[in-house]
Each structure stands twice: as structure tokens, then as C-alpha cells.
Symmetry: C2
Subunit: 339 residues, 2 copies
């Protein structure tokens, strides 16, 4: 039962991160030569060698990529991001005969087991890392498991994996500036849950853009569902001085808010301007058409799959991919406030 | 290179279907004893034995179930059925640590290869069979591959697999009867693509219900997308005698049609009644709320996963599951026609 040295042991001995060890042992560029030398020396001293599984992975392919989602399974139908992202991934995989292995981990269960299960017996050739969190522990886990990965956006810690980046903030700034230019001064947002990096990014861009114009932000937090959007809208409209414009962190809440405003007798955009985020299919077709921000999760999935497949195919140095940032789409649901 | 006898060879010799052979060789009930005897005799004479893969499947589990979708990958984001169905499946799988292997096969490619890939190396323990077609060739293929399966609704040919059944027709009849009771006589439908069994079922129920009331059906065919719903709506409203009520085969087309009618200056429901199918999340929240039919694809996925897992767990005789039929949900988008 003598324990084989792991990447963590090598990292400890060399005094570097596990990510750096993975870089060095896989011959990927980006580290100082002195660091590489130190790591290789530590690996030699410990007698480190790649695990059988890692080696078998490099010769035999599973023809499948993995996605672990740590949310309520219902999010797959209530949040338009994942279906569109998965559709984009499949648009690449279907041309290569690859499958997508989808592992949903319930809140409170071990997410790490989800990745271990995917790694077990080499059932996937690589994984997508979504819903990044602060100092995400999954980076080290995947290095340890020897699984190629691509991250959706760049993690805030060190990561040996290429990232596919889609910046929500320019589009958020553009929609808020659009409302300010129309003459609105009481602008509210219905934000998404603050646990998600992407929800926080939109909120920060909203608050900063208003502050730059000398305006006070008015924020209600929603949960990305239609019902949550309705409730937040009702609370905002019941204020002594209700907003004249509301920006919602996704289209689903915005379309529900549009219906709630109309049901309460308001005319959109004359009495209230409404803007969303996603440019989901129905945004163009509700009446009035929804001003929104187009983030294109389908293209995100497509780019992530192309990037991950470069790694799986053995490319030595796969760069980050920067997608065009989310952009403002102006339709009929926003106009100057009544005077 | 002597070829081993297959289930098809046994079926041919015994003069029965491959499904019956599968039933008999797996000791499942439901066949006459004389038929079982004939099949076992034929298998003996041919020296038939289960393949290695089939045997290894019975002892080692992949802890994954498979779904092959033969449609444009974009359907995963444009059609609410699959995300909700998959969410329901995952609500069961996530409690057992199972993964879902999703294989999208592009139109024109070999769908059978999709199933063979899933069966290869026992990477799934069973599969869901969706989008059933007339005399579906996948039934025999799965029998041949030795893969447990559950069908979504009952195929029209012979099948050894349990089915999960959700009947769209009672809900469709109910919505059409609701429009007739309101006093409408010019009732149109925007149908889904006729290639799908479920789209045809809704169309047939629509036409028959109108015929029973002595009314002529008016049909435009859509493609389940919002854009297709808009186009079909415009064609219907441009008729010399336009309909006073439109039933859409999904909510997405209905919500888009609602927007198109409102954009053309019509008031819903005073000038035009609109009804959908799905009861998707936004149906309740658009203004006016959408009268629709609730089919509950989440519950469909849940029931299908529970049924398939019974087979995977080795249950001898898994019965069909009949879900509550789709039902009418009346909201503000339907009313009596103006006189």
C-alpha cells in the first residue's frame, strides 16, 4: 500500500501550484525556465510518473466530452443559457460523432464526485467548467484527475486551462447608457442571484454605469425565473416613486415583467421602459419588442467545444478564445419617459 | 471469420419477430409457451449465445443512460420539450449519481451509428427512444444491441420495451371545444411539422374535433419556431375571411403570434382569440395570459428515467406508465368573438 506521489506532492516539494506542475509536466509553455527546472527536479526526486489512467487517456479516446452542472435539474428548462450552450456544444460534437456526458449534481452533494465519476474509466476526454466561483477548487481537482478542461470565462485563481471568454459588461453598460440617454433618472434593475459570477458582473456594470452618470441605483434581486421577475416588478412599481425604466438580468424576467406592467394598466414604453438580457428567441416577438443584450450562448458553446477538442486532439498550446462581447439590441420596449 | 448467429437469425428460423426472440431469451413474460419453446429450439439449433458485450453489460454498470436526438442541435434551445424532458430525467439521475449521455445526430447522418456508439464499450446502461416514427427501425436495432430501452409513447410496431405514455389528444380536443363553446366558427391551427408523430396527433385531434361540430378546419403549418409562428399568423390574418381564433401547436409560436396580432393593431382576445400548447413558463405571464394545454415534459422525463432504471436494475417485467393526459388551461387570451 505504498502511496504513489501525486501532482500535489510534486507541487508541495517544488513550492509551486498544482497548475504549474501540470503545465511543466505536460511541456506547455508559459512558465519561467527556472520554475520548470525546479518542478522537474522535484518530480524526479519523488519518483513521480503519470497514472495509468492518465496514460491510457492519452492513447484511447472516449469520444465524449463532459459537463457537470451543480444546480437544481429544473434549471435546464428554466434558464435559457444551458439549453443554448449545450446546443452550441452539440453543433460541434455532432460533426465528429462525439457525445456529451451530462452530470447534474444536486445542491449539497459532492460536486467533486461528479467529476471523479466522469473521469472514472476514462468515460470523457475532457470537460467544460461552467458557473465559475471565486478561487474555484475544481481547477486543482481537474489537474489532479489529468482531465483536459476549458473554463467558461477566466477563473480568478491560477489555471492551466484555456478559457473561452464572453464579457457581459459592455452590453450591460450599453443598455444602461441607452436608458440614461433617453432621459431616465429613476432606473431599476432586477438582478440575478449574487452567487453567480456572471450575475454579479451584470450588477456591477449596472451600478458603475449609473454612478458615472451621478444616478442612484435601485436594485431588486430576482432568481432568473418568470415568477421572480413578476414579484420584483410588483415591488418596484409599488414604491412611492417607482422607476421609469427597469433593466432585468435575463429576458425571461423581463418578458414576465412586461406582462405584469401591462396587466397593471401601464403602457410600455410610454409609462415604463423595459430592457432584458439574453436576446432569447421571444424577445423579438413580444409586443412591444424587447430591448435587450445579446450574449449568444450558442456561440459560447460552439467556441468552448472547438477549444476543448483542440486539447483533446493533443494541441500543445491552446490559446484563450475571446468572443465578441454582449451587445445592445434596441427595440420598442424602451423610450423617453413621459414628462 | 465464421459468423455468429444473431437474434435476427433466430427470429428468421423461428418465424417470429426479433422483439419476441428478445422476450423469450431474456425470460420475460407475455409470450405463449409454444412460441417460447419454438424460439428456444431455434436458438439451440443455431448455437446462439449472448454476445460478450451483452454479458458484460449485465454485470458491470456504466452508471449512465443515453439519449440520441436526430435533429438540428439548435432544437435543444428552440424547442422547450427537450430541455424540460432532460431536466426531468436528471432529477432522477442526479439522486443516483448517474450521468446522461447525449448524442445529437445531424440530419442525413446515420442515426443507427449514434446508438451503436452509445452501446460501444457499454458506455450506457440503457437508452430513451424519443421522436418515434412509423415502423421505427430503432426498435430492432436496440434488441440487436442488447440495450435496455424505454420508448416515449408506444410505437406502432411490435416492441419489447416498456413505454411511457402522455396523450396529447384529450388536451387538444379540450382547447378546440373551448373555442367552439365560446362561439367561434372560423378556427385556425398553426400546426407543427407533420414528420413528428406528436405533431400529427395534435393536428388529427384538431381536425376531428372541428368536424364533430360541423366546422371546417383552417390549417397553416409552422416549424415550432417563433419566426414560423409569426409568418403563419400573418398569412391567416391576410385571408379574406380571417379566423377569429387560432390554436398553435406550441406556446412559442402562440406567444409570437400574440405579439404579431398586437403589433398589427388587433386586441387579444376581443378581436382574436389565441391558444397554445405546452404551458411553458412564460404562458402565464405574457399579457393577456395564454390559454394553453399543459403536457408536462418534466414529468415525462422523470417517469421515463424511473422506468428505464427499473429495467437497468434488472426488474423482470416493467409495465408501461400512463401519465395524466395533457389538459386545458384557460387564461385571458381566449374569449367570445366580437359580434
Amino acid at each position: 500500500m505504498s502511496k504513489r506521489p501525486t501532482i500535489a506532492d510534486v507541487a508541495r516539494r517544488a513550492g509551486v501550484s498544482k497548475g504549474s506542475v501540470s503545465f511543466a509536466l505536460n511541456g506547455r509553455p508559459g512558465l519561467a525556465q527556472a520554475t520548470v527546472d525546479k518542478i522537474l527536479a522535484a518530480a524526479d526526486e519523488l519518483g513521480w510518473r503519470p497514472s495509468n489512467r492518465a496514460r491510457s487517456l492519452s492513447v484511447s479516446k472516449a469520444f465524449a466530452l463532459g459537463l457537470v452542472i451543480t444546480r437544481d435539474p429544473a434549471v435546464l428548462s428554466s434558464d435559457p443559457f444551458f439549453p443554448a450552450f449545450i446546443a452550441g456544444v452539440e453543433s460541434v460534437l455532432s460533426t465528429r460523432g462525439q457525445a456529451l456526458v451530462l452530470q447534474v449534481v444536486m445542491a449539497g452533494e459532492s460536486e467533486q464526485d461528479g467529476y471523479r465519476r466522469l473521469a472514472r474509466d476514462g468515460r470523457v476526454d475532457g470537460v467544460f467548467l461552467s458557473d465559475l466561483r471565486h478561487d474555484d477548487p475544481r481547477i486543482d481537482l481537474l489537474v489532479e484527475l489529468g482531465l483536459p478542461a476549458v473554463t467558461l470565462n477566466r477563473p480568478d485563481g491560477e489555471s492551466p486551462f484555456p478559457a473561452v471568454i464572453l464579457d457581459d459588461r459592455p452590453g450591460t453598460r450599453a443598455v444602461v447608457e441607452h436608458l440614461i440617454e433617453l432621459g431616465h433618472t429613476r432606473i431599476a434593475q432586477v438582478a440575478g442571484p449574487p452567487a453567480f459570477v456572471h450575475a454579479t458582473a451584470r450588477t456591477t456594470a449596472f451600478v458603475e454605469t449609473l454612478a458615472a452618470a451621478g444616478l442612484e441605483p435601485l436594485t431588486e434581486t430576482g432568481d432568473f425565473t418568470a415568477a421572480g421577475g413578476i414579484e420584483a416588478t410588483r415591488r418596484l412599481l409599488a414604491l412611492p416613486k417607482p422607476p421609469t425604466a427597469i433593466f432585468y438580468a435575463n429576458d425571461r424576467m423581463a418578458i414576465a415583467g412586461l406582462g405584469a406592467a401591462q396587466a397593471s394598466g401601464l403602457t410600455v414604453p410610454d409609462d415604463l421602459s423595459i430592457a432584458g438580457f439574453d436576446d432569447s428567441e421571444l424577445a423579438e416577438y413580444v409586443h412591444p419588442g424587447l430591448t435587450t443584450v445579446r450574449a449568444d450562448p450558442f456561440a459560447f458553446g460552439e467556441a468552448a467545444a472547438l477549444t476543448l477538442n483542440q486539447l483533446v486532439d493533443g494541441a500543445a498550446d491552446v490559446p484563450d478564445t475571446e468572443l465578441p462581447p454582449a451587445q445592445l439590441i434596441v427595440r420598442g420596449s424602451t423610450a423617453s419617459p413621459a414628462v
